[in-house]
Structure formats: C-alpha cells, structure tokens
Symmetry: C2
C-alpha cells in the first residue's frame, strides 16, 4: 500500500505531475531544450521575486549548497547553524579546504539579525550561509531581517538554503538581498527529488571570479557562463524528466497563486501547531516556527517508531526526530500540494492510534 507522505521530503507528488516524468526524451542540445529550460527559469524568477538568473543542477540541494560556498568564498565563510542542515554547510566548506567558522545556536532557536551583525562586524568574513527553514528542528529563520543587516557589508555574499521552504513560504530574493538562494524539487515545490535550483546575483558571480579552484560540475560561475552562451542549456546532460515535471508544476503553482499557496501553507502550519500544543509541545521557538513542517516535542513519551508503523498500516507516514532528536521529537511536514483536510485526516488518525 502506498503511504501518503507527511515527511519533510520526498513529499507526496500529484499523479499528473508524476506523469510528466514519463515524457518521451528530446535532445538536450535542441532549441526545444533551451525553451523548456528558459521557461522554467522565468517561472522560478517569479517564485523567488528576483531578476537574478535562475540555474538548475542535476544534484540534490546539497550539490548547489557546496557549489555556493566553494565557488564564492574568497576570504572566509561564516556558517550560521540552527540544526543538522546548517551544520552540513560547515562540513562542506571543511571538505573543500574553504576557511570557515560556524556559529551554532541551541537547536530549536533561530539565527537572529543581531548575531549576524556581530559576526560580520569583525570584518573577517566575505560569505555567510543561513538556513531559511531547518528541517531537523522546524525553525524558520528571519532571513528578510538578516538580509537588512547583511546589506551593511557590501563585500559579503549572502547564501540561503531554502530547500524546505521555497514554494511554501514567501522568499523575496531581491528585496532581502540574497545572492545565492538554493532549493530543490522534492520539498514544498511538490516534485520528485533529483534536481536542485538556485538564483545567483552579479555579486556572487564577481566573487566567484576571484576564486581560483572552484571545481567543475559544481562551479557556479562555469554553470552561469554556459547558460548565458548556450541559451539555458547545461554543460552536462541534465535530468530532462525533472525539467518537464518542474515546468508543468510551476504552471500549477502560479495558477494557484503564490500568495494563496503561501497562505495555504500557513493555515496548515497554524493548525498543526495548535494541535501539537494541545496534545504535546512545540520543539522550536514559536516566534520562528516553520511554515512547512512542525517538530513536536514528545512530552508524552510515546513510541514514535511504533506510531509511525501503525500510521503506515493506515497509509500515512510521518518522520521521527532527526539524529539525536529521534523519539524525543517527531515531525509532521505540511508542504507542497498537501491540503488542510489531508492534514486533519492525518492528525485524527494519530489521535485515534494514541487514544488522545
């Protein structure tokens, strides 16, 4: 039996979107491929409220996160960590011999503009990374406010991981001053995994020009130059099935309306949080609670693995806590094309199983 996914990616993908993955192949050096990829970029520019170039990468989001920190750090990177996926950015820098420091808060807390200002005021850093939505803890950082602070430091390249928020929360790339904004297909965009997306600013590209060894497949500047030269074609053969599905899904997203889509996500988030507070507690600081997933503190000491097993028999799947938070928390994703009635149905099933 198929389990309806309420995990923070891969998410449930609608049948008509899945069907686009089965589109017959075309050559990746054709005008048709250019048009497909140019259309996608233009639609994503709307989603990200940006005039910057949008680029696609046949990798997971991790691939483009590494590309950003390796390609654009000239002096030293400051990585702000609020959970497991923030820490990953630090590990990537270390693995590439990119000078880096990490600034970690207690899990469940947010990165604040004040923290970022304090760190940048040292003058040691020319790139920072912030996680918009931290999948391990359920924190959504105030990236817009952080962006205001970053603007005081014109040399600093501002990289943001929006992997689990893009498509589920408003992300105003140009207004917030984000230089590299990264996401991937399998979260709030409602597609299968296998493709990553970023926006890239002039500032980020200028920074990359000053970095000598940026690698090849994950070199942001090389990717950009190729796209410019070859009308949105990619240096290596990309995942054409994902292109077709993404193009189609973006039409559906724009048809729903971005504001409507974000409001739907907020409505689901509000409902799940109210439910969590009624029966359990929230793990994350509620002032910074995520629009796309909720991490619930297991105050009742329930057996989460067992709950998920029983949900599975009913055709649903949620997530246990991440890493050390396993059994201490559990996570419910409410993103992509999931609706409030579906969320309610899930929660009713949990209540029923736990006899709440």
């Amino acid at each position: 039996m198929h389990k309806k996914l309420f995990i923070p990616g891969p998410v449930e993908v609608k049948d008509d979107v899945l069907q686009k993955m089965a589109t017959p192949m075309i050559g990746h050096r054709t005008k048709e491929a250019s048009k497909l990829q140019r259309d996608i970029s233009e639609k994503l520019m709307k989603l990200f409220y940006t005039k910057n170039q949008v680029m696609l990468s046949t990798t997971s989001g991790t691939g483009l996160m590494e590309a950003a920190i390796r390609s654009c750090t000239r002096k030293r990177a400051a990585v702000f960590v609020v959970g497991a996926f923030g820490k990953r950015w630090y590990d990537m820098a270390v693995a590439n011999n990119v000078p880096v420091d990490k600034f970690e808060v207690e899990w469940g807390s947010a990165t604040t503009p004040e923290m970022v200002d304090e760190v940048l005021s040292t003058g040691k850093y020319d790139l920072i990374t912030v996680t918009h939505n931290e999948t391990s803890t359920g924190i959504m950082n105030p990236v817009g406010e952080i962006g205001e602070v970053v603007k005081k430091y014109p040399d600093v390249v501002f990289c943001v991981d929006t992997v689990s928020s893009a498509g589920g929360a408003k992300i105003e790339v140009d207004k917030w001053g984000i230089d590299v904004c990264i996401t991937s297909t399998q979260k709030a965009l409602g597609l299968p995994p296998g493709l990553a997306i970023c926006t890239v600013s002039e500032k980020a590209l200028e920074a990359a020009k000053q970095v000598e060894h940026r690698g090849f497949y994950l070199d942001l500047l090389r990717l950009y130059q190729y796209i410019q030269k070859k009308d949105h074609q990619y240096p290596s053969t990309p995942s054409i099935p994902h292109m077709y599905a993404l193009d189609y899904q973006l039409d559906k997203i724009l048809e729903e309306g971005l504001e409507n889509r974000f409001a739907r996500h907020k409505e689901m988030a509000d409902y799940v949080r109210a439910w969590a507070k009624k029966y359990f507690d929230l793990f994350a600081d509620e002032r910074y609670a995520s629009n796309t997933l909720t991490t619930i503190k297991n105050t009742r000491g329930i057996n989460v693995a067992e709950l998920n097993k029983r949900l599975g028999m009913r055709g649903y799947m949620i997530s246990n806590g991440y890493g050390n938070l396993k059994e201490k928390t559990f996570r419910i994703a409410h993103m992509a094309d999931t609706t409030l009635p579906e969320v309610k149905e899930l929660l009713e099933n949990i209540e029923d199983i736990l006899e709440l």
Copy 2:
C-alpha cells in the same frame, strides 16, 4: 511530432521504462529505499562483471568522473585523450587543482596499451583515466588490453569512462582491473538522463583515504562509507524516479541476456559501418570502432544540418559532428533498445533524402 533519437544520448526510452519514472514517491530513509538501491547495485554488478561495490550518484556522468579524479589522485593523474570527453577529465583535474598531464592522440585514433605503458613507466603517476567509448569520434579504446598494462603498476588507480558504452558492449571490470568504472543512464542503458553509476575498488578507496580535501557531494569515499553504514541509502536525497526506472530496465536487460544485448549492438554497428563505407567513409580507425555509435566522415560535403532538419520532419534525429567536427562529420548512435530494423529504416530515409 516526437523525433526518434539516434543521437549519442539522450536515447530513445521505451514507454514502459518511461512509465516507471512516474512511480509514486517513497521516503529515501525507508527499508523499501534500501532494498530498491541494493537490488540495483546487485544487478549492475552483473552488468559490469564485478564484485566491487556499485554506487549511484544524482549527477550526470561528469559528476562521477570528477569525483574519481579528485578523490583518488594522490600524486599526479595521467589523462588519455582521444576526443572531447577525454579532454573533459583533464579540465576537471585542473579545476580542482589536481596535478595532471594529458596525453592526446589525433582525433579518430585510439589510446594503445603501449602509450599507457610508456607514460606509467615514468613513475610520475598514480591515477590514469581512459575513455572507453569516445562519443565525439566513435573510437572504442582497447580497455582490456590497457588494463593488462596497468596491472604492472600496483599503485595506479585505473579510472574508465564507460558513459556511452556500458550496456552496449562487454565491460569486464574485475578481469580488466578497472578501479573506478563510470557510466550514466541516458546512453546504452536506455534510460532518461539524471543518474550516474560507478563501480569502486578497494584500491580506489584506499587511495581516497590518502587524499585530504575530496569535497563533499562528489567524494567517492564518503559515498561509499555512507552506503556501507546505511544499507545502500545515500547521503543526500537521490533521484528516486531514476531508481525505479533503472531497476526495471536492468531486469529487462538481464532478461534479454547480456551477451545477446552486446551482440545486437555489434550487429547494428557492423551494419552502420558497412553503410557508411558504401556512401561516405569512417572517421575513426576501424580497428577501434565503437559498438554504440558511428562517426561518419562527410566525404560528400552534404549539408548535415539540413539533412537532420529533413530527417526531423520524418520523425528521426541524428547528430552533427562534435565541436570542430561539425559538418565535417555526422554521428549515428545505435545503442540502448534500438533494433537493427529501426537502424535500417533510418538509413533508408537518409538515402532517400540524399538521393543516394
């Protein structure tokens, strides 16, 4: 109108295989995902005649080529170049500050065991890369014979690009002593692009342990260790649609029988070469002619772009020459699930258009 692809990737993909790309999503941290990925690895071990671990990467073949040369070169790499894709391996090393020299023959010629022996006898190199099947020229290098030479140098990691041959020609990884054998889905395997595959030997892994900065997403050792620890799961969310399609297609390939499949490719290659010699000439040294694509010398001075346009109106697509070979050559791929009758039909259409 859909054009039937006779280009060297992406290839024509059968409808039932495409349909597997539309399989509903599952969590990538489930037992189901482990089983799927383990099954794929075991089937690919048969295809590659190896006991080495098979690993998948959500990238194009380029991604794993870069992973190999960056992860496993301790001292200096020797890159043997017979065309555009060989040269790419050199560019990747340079982009990663990996010490490297390239040994290029005239396009249309092969890399010989003697050349490799001469280069390795200098003692300067601890990794070599060879292109098995060069898509720009139609050369299939004698990798088995080269492997015999490499065995004399126990410190040398032997990396082979089989992107456009795996699934269309016999590649005996263990017998030939290949340490990292790389391919991707969109060529002779008959699947959409978006996933890369490699086999990795103990020797390659030991070499990687001696390399300090191997990066993150494309670190072969990190990938291997994760797979071992997590029963064939991957560090980042992989392209699950490709996994489903690959698993299904591998069953079909093994059902056809590997030897039958290779014989079918050879039969198509023989037919296309005989046709090419009758009306044009071969670009590549025929002693090393490829099983999966033929590069034809445009001895008649036909307008290749125009021919392809007219073929397009009839529902077929071939490839112009690569880079500087454009209009001087053209390429016909005969790989994956293409059959001899389909190849004959294409050639008859070319004869008809050109009034041969």
